[in-house]
Amino acid sequence: MASRSLGQFYPVASLLHGLDPRAKILCVTIFAVGLFLIDTIAGFLLMTLVVGALVATSRIPLAVFLRLLRPVVFIVALTVFFQVLFSREGATLLEWGFIEIHAGGLRLGFLLALRILLLVSVAGLLTATTAPVALTDGIEDLLSSLKKLRFPAHEFAMMMTIALRFIPTLDEEARKIMAAQSARGADFREGGLIRRSRALIPLLVPLTVGAFRRADELAEAMESRGYQGGTGRTRYRELRFHFRDALALAIVMVVLALGILA
């Protein structure tokens, strides 16, 4: 079916899968902020160890997890490249024409790479261990305090749920339309950039039309079943904050404090 990509839910049973989504979202947020406060190599090595331990507890096979990281490798490489090349801090290690590599640049590049990889890793862990519906429920709950400021928390969460739900549907639809157009002689693989993007028109137009039709149908189906927004709606799955969730939050904070002090 659809290929696994960044942020796809990986359904196994583990300690991380069992945590309350709200606790996980908060942990990831705190962790992300914390990563920007750490600036020593020792601190980052500690964080790398912690994230490694988390990956192990998540019971996601390492190969699958590394595949989640693959799309960001290019971005990391690019940032490190520029960091190393244009930073003029510390002792000069290498001078070749206009290229100068400094110790400070290498260090900064290394820290930056780790920072990005760790950020993506924890975010990836969150989405890989949390079902999309649980994730949006968690977000809705965390944002619900903003409802007083007229922030449409429920609508926001519902939009996210629907968007996630329709990814596989649209993917399947795209395959069907591609097959139908191939039968009429369309070719999506040959030719240069311009020819290829022109070849996408017979795919994108029906796909968009179909998406609007589906949106209409879904809206009607929801209304005919009495949906009228978030007020007064109860949930099938109630979120419960357990002791272990509080513990997870506490651990994250302690570990971060250690990392910042290291």
Binding site: I177, A179, A183, G185, A186, P206
Partner: protein
């Protein structure tokens, strides 16, 4: 043109836990100029089967032969021009601003001249009785009109074999009848037709041979008489009535008109 499938198997998502065996060794030939009906329940492999006929799907094992040549070695766009495939709900792939341009997409891809394209578009729209819609937007048409236009889009490539996957699903009886008479007209002009359908009555009306699918295998293959009278419980109403009247001289009709004629002679005697 003859089209032959030899021991074709197809597995979706092979090598993953989600693997589904959709075809389990299907051997079938489509003879030149015949109307072959393919029937079977949902999930029996009908659509998977026909998508092998013009190489939209590749067999996991087995081979597809076009006039005796392995389809894997043939030019795919040429193959798809000669073997036209109309998918289920083909109207969902309409995309151009006007009906004329949409139907012209296939012939244009064949690198025909402008006049030849226009000629083909006019011809195939006329065959489907919608030439008056040429300048309209395909999105503004009714369901039946959209279906006709989508079928015209494949017909405009003048295929030697035309595969129709559930062409009448969700259509009104008039459009349904029009499509069935189109099938007859085309087959009389020498085009082979493969008609996939849930509707046994309509298959009985037009098919020369019937292939009944079950769980990815061919369960029965032969003339409508052979296939339907073998399993009358799963056959058009005509066959069921005739089976009840078996001891009379009604014979083995599969078409409604034949039954009426047989009953009439029965009553006259």
């Amino acid at each position: 043109m003859t089209l032959e499938l030899r021991d074709v198997c197809h597995v979706y998502a092979a090598g993953t836990p989600l693997a589904v065996e959709a075809l389990r060794g299907v051997s079938l030939a489509v003879e030149a100029g015949e109307v072959l009906g393919i029937v079977g329940g949902t999930g029996s492999g009908k659509s998977t089967l026909v998508q092998h006929m013009n190489w939209i799907l590749r067999p996991t094992s087995g081979e597809v032969l076009v006039d005796g040549v392995d389809a894997a070695t043939l030019n795919k766009s040429e193959l798809r021009r000669r073997i036209g495939l109309v998918f289920q709900f083909p109207e969902s792939a309409l995309f151009a601003p006007t009906v004329e341009e949409d139907v012209g997409f296939g012939p244009q891809r064949m690198k025909l001249g402008e006049d030849a394209v226009r000629e083909r578009v006019r011809g195939s729209l006329a065959m489907l009785g919608v030439e008056h819609l040429a300048q309209r937007s395909p999105f503004a048409l009714s369901g039946g009109e959209k279906r006709r236009v989508a079928i015209a889009g494949v017909l405009a490539m003048e295929p030697e074999v035309l595969i129709l996957d559930e062409p009448t699903a969700g259509l009104d009886p008039a459009t349904r009848q029009d499509l069935l008479s189109l099938v007859r007209t085309l087959s009389e002009s020498g085009v082979s037709i493969v008609l996939v359908s849930h509707d046994l009555e309509e298959v009985a009306e037009v098919a020369d041979r019937i292939c009944a699918m079950e769980q990815g295998c061919i369960q029965a293959l032969g003339t409508p008489q052979e296939v339907f009278y073998k399993n009358p419980a799963n056959a058009p109403a005509t066959v069921r009535v005739a089976t009840v009247l078996q001891n009379s001289s009604i014979g083995r009709p599969v078409r409604y008109a034949d039954t009426l004629a047989a009953l009439r002679t029965l009553m006259e005697n």
